[in-house]
């Protein structure tokens, strides 16, 4: 844990140096433009230095257990599914993608009853359409739908 915090402190200090010498001069105009961002860099550098100077015994992170590894893999898959869901919204439209996306999320989260996987997204997205689309006249990307 201590080693992790020291590494974080070192990372923060390197980030501060990059900001001060590289990013801020290139991304701001003139001395006045750089003033406030540089004050923030100083504000960031103080805890960075304190973290780096912290002493203590280095302890490694505990290896992941089987259940944790399973949950981590599934969460990564879920994240990939969300990414795909967002990518298909412009093509399929929000409501169609959301029905398919929700069904995929439910499956990934361990729901195996076909009726639940089909009906839950249909009802939920239907209610969203009633509340947002019709109730608040809120327009989402239509995609395939007219």
């Amino acid at each position: 844990m201590i080693r992790g915090k020291r590494l974080l402190g070192l990372g923060v200090l390197v980030f501060c140096l990059l900001l001060w010498f590289l990013i801020i001069p290139n991304q701001t105009e003139g001395k006045t433009g750089a003033e406030f961002p540089r004050l923030i860099v100083l504000f960031l550098a103080i805890p960075g230095a304190v973290l780096l100077l912290r002493s203590g015994a280095a302890t490694g992170a505990a290896p992941l257990k089987g259940e944790e590894l399973y949950a981590l893999r599934r969460t990564a898959l879920l994240l990939a599914l969300v990414c795909v869901y967002m990518l298909v919204i412009p093509k399929l439209g929000f409501y169609t993608s959301s029905i398919l996306g929700m069904a995929a999320f439910l499956y990934c989260l361990g729901v195996r009853t076909p009726l639940q996987i089909i009906l839950t997204p249909l009802i939920s997205v239907g209610l969203m359409y009633l509340g947002l689309g019709l109730g608040l006249s809120f327009r989402m990307p239509a995609g395939l739908l007219p």
Partner: protein, 502 residues
């Protein structure tokens, strides 16, 4: 002031405003009552829709969510021993033992009554203190203003968690993110790295939703999958019966409610300390003042009353720095500030002068929200057990979809949806590194104001930073902030040394 209050009253009695306040409270209680969902997540997910409502209706919805969610958080604390909101943690100490004795209904009714009374009193404090504080705020110049913001930022940073370093880093990162966009002085883009969609700054919605709701939903999904893999059983649910408080019991808890309201209100005025500290200090004070302290932790009604009154009394005074100085005291206040900004209203010293009627209308709506919380709370307490049995898989899937809707809502831009996703990943990484995301967001909201005041001060002094040390009020606040930073760092070092020597 009285004239403004009367005119403000006339603005709120429209079916639209009252409906959204009622709807906000109802959703807040329901969301707060579902373990894993918090009032903050409810506010974040509903915030984009306030764009489509009038200013009063939009803020009424958010305040309703906050108030309803605050009480709702006590429901899983009592029934499942899982605090629905962080501030409800202390409610579990006595709420759950009482539920185990078959008195869940009494525990929830105590929580409801204490919440509503303390919240109403705190709203009164807000109404009567806001105008004098705003008048005082009008007299302060840019250097003093800068010093007050800096002081607030430091308090928020050091109070953020166990490690003040991580709090200060979170604040620094929030301030840095606030500089993305266009330089207010030269008008040239800065830190946008070729993404011209960021020229107006990072959009509020994608950032808030990504950091708070999307990353939280992913964490919940991980937790759910892990529990499933471990085959862990859910805690038993204690169905609340129809057990109201007797007059004798109310008389017994009334002094605790009064004391906790005072403690919570004092804490609420100081930005950054928050509801959790309010409830914890109130609980400790109630235990210390009790004739039977040994009953605390065993199901004492005073324990529940202290926790709930202490955390709800923070709400009203917490809005004082927001409406008078534009400084949000906590995340909920920061999100309300976001809603104000979406409507083109910028809270600050002149806000009270220019929009007094609007403000008093909103303050009055806070009372209505309290009334709605009481009515709906009484009704929903009976069905509280059912709310906890909504499948977590459904909630997580729906939150993902709502995140997309919310990110898209403000600008109808798919870029914002991907920005939300990116902030979700950033939120996961920062949480793993023990950053404090609510603190970072509050700092992000304060960034533009702080930059403006720093620049005004430096313009007055021709670029001389000594202006912050030669004006007495500015000097006091900057010295206090620096002293607090040094003290917390020194305390952290000595605690670490003490731990290592043992």
């Amino acid at each position: 002031m009285l004239e403004d209050i009367v005119l403000g009253l006339g603005m709120i009695f429209t079916p639209e405003n009252l409906f959204w306040a009622f709807f906000g409270v109802a959703c807040g209680i329901v969301v707060g009552a579902i373990p894993g969902l918090s009032d903050t997540m409810a506010i974040v997910l509903f915030l984009p829709f306030t764009y489509y409502l009038s200013p009063i209706a939009g803020i009424a919805l958010l305040m309703g969510l906050s108030k309803g969610g605050n009480f709702g958080g006590s429901i899983p604390a009592v029934l499942f021993n899982i605090p629905g909101t962080p501030q409800a943690m202390v409610t579990t100490f006595d709420g759950y033992p009482l539920a185990q004795k078959g008195l869940a209904g009494k525990a929830l009714n105590t929580a409801l009554l204490s919440s509503v009374i303390a919240d109403a009193c705190s709203d009164l404090i807000l109404i009567f203190l806001a105008a004098p504080v705003a008048a005082l705020a009008l007299r302060i110049g840019p250097p003093e203003y800068t010093a007050i913001i800096f002081f607030s930022v430091v308090i928020i940073a050091v109070m953020a968690g166990n490690d003040p370093c991580m709090g200060i880093l979170s604040v620094g990162l929030g301030l840095l993110l606030s500089t993305v966009g266009t330089d207010p002085h030269s008008g040239s883009p800065r830190f946008i790295f070729g993404f011209y969609e960021l020229a107006d700054g990072i959009s509020l919605m994608p950032m808030v939703i990504g950091l708070l709701a999307f990353s939280e939903a992913l964490r919940q999904a991980y937790g759910w999958l892990k529990r499933q893999a471990e085959g862990r059983e859910e805690p038993p649910v204690h169905i609340p019966g129809n057990q109201g408080l007797r007059w004798q019991e109310f008389k017994q808890i009334a002094p605790t409610i009064a004391r906790s309201t005072g403690i919570g209100a004092c804490i609420g005025i100081i930005p950054g300390i928050g509801t959790t500290v309010g409830s914890y200090l109130s609980y400790l004070a109630a235990k210390k003042c009790s004739k039977n302290p040994e009953r605390f932790g065993q199901g004492a009604l005073e324990g529940i009353a202290a926790s709930e009154a202490g955390n709800n009394a923070v709400n009203g005074p917490n809005l004082i720095p927001l409406v008078t100085l534009g400084i949000p005291g906590n995340l909920a206040a920061a999100l309300v500030l976001g809603a104000f900004m979406m409507k083109g209203l910028i809270p600050g010293p002149t806000f009270m002068q220019n929009h007094a009627q609007l403000l008093y209308a909103l303050f009055t709506l806070l009372f209505f929200s309290n009334l709605f919380t009481f009515i709906l709370g009484k009704f929903l307490v009976r069905y509280a057990g059912t709310l906890g049995s909504i499948p977590e898989t459904l909630l997580i899937s729906m939150v993902f979809v709502f995140c997309v809707i919310g990110a898209y809502a403000a600008n109808s831009s798919l870029f914002d949806v991907f920005l939300m996703f990116a902030f979700g990943l950033l939120g996961l990484a920062l949480t793993a590194l023990k950053f404090n995301l609510p603190t970072m967001l509050v700092a992000f909201f304060l960034g533009a104001l702080l930059e403006g005041k720093v620049r005004q001060s430096l313009a007055i002094s021709n670029g001389d930073f000594m202006i912050f040390f030669t004006r007495p009020v500015a000097l006091v606040f900057i010295s206090l902030a620096l002293a607090m930073m040094v003290y917390t760092f020194a305390k952290g070092f000595s605690r670490r040394r003490h731990t290592m020597s043992h």
